[in-house]
Amino acid sequence: MTRAAGAGICAFALAYLLADALHLPVLVYDPATGVVTTSRMPSGLQMRYFGDLLLASTAGLGSAALFGRLPSRIPVAVPAWTALVLVALDALYYLYRLAGF
């Protein structure tokens, strides 16, 4: 279970970071018009947070389900510590953006 959880968090953190950094096309929602579309670069009031979350959650759940079913000899600590490194990278990326660069 810990391997599957670690793999799920790894996939979530990676997909969440890449979706934003590489401007992957995701669902975007315009709160002014209530319209949902797909876009790489939201404009105006459009929000891509829901789309990023959906993409990352799908990747995380899929990865956890896949890893949970596969027999694995990988030590339980490997996916967990990898997940922490990826989450730390995400946090550093967003802190870097907070600084306005």
Binding site: A5, G6, Y16, Y29, P31, Y49, A56, L84, L95, L98
Partner: protein, 146 residues
Amino acid sequence: MIDRALLLAHAVLGFAALFAGTHHAAYAVLSALERPRLRALRRFMWIAPAAMVAQAICGLAIYPAYRLRVRAMDFDLNAPALVRLFELKEHLAALAVALVIGASLAGGCDRSRQARWPIAALSCAGAAFLWAAALIGLYVTARHPL
């Protein structure tokens, strides 16, 4: 009116998630230190994820109203630093959801000794992100509630 009710629910459920995540982290560390708290870890296996998902649903429900009434009408014009701070909070909260749910489910199901420290580390990271998101959320809401 509904948005303010949802904001209150988001705050209350957010604190429930925060304390559930923090308790889980404390019990996970105790287990890693050879003082296992199996009943508590089993209890928080569902309490922490349920509180996290419920507060996240409330937060997502009011996000469009924040975007229109707070960000577009105030922060974008008067306080752009708060826009970036709130975005950091949203990203930390998203990562915390994954960490807390993953660590809680693993802590409730996995009894192996070698899993204890990895679960404790994931749970502590989730709790730390939750605390940061909660404090930023309180600060931003104090500046301009819905």
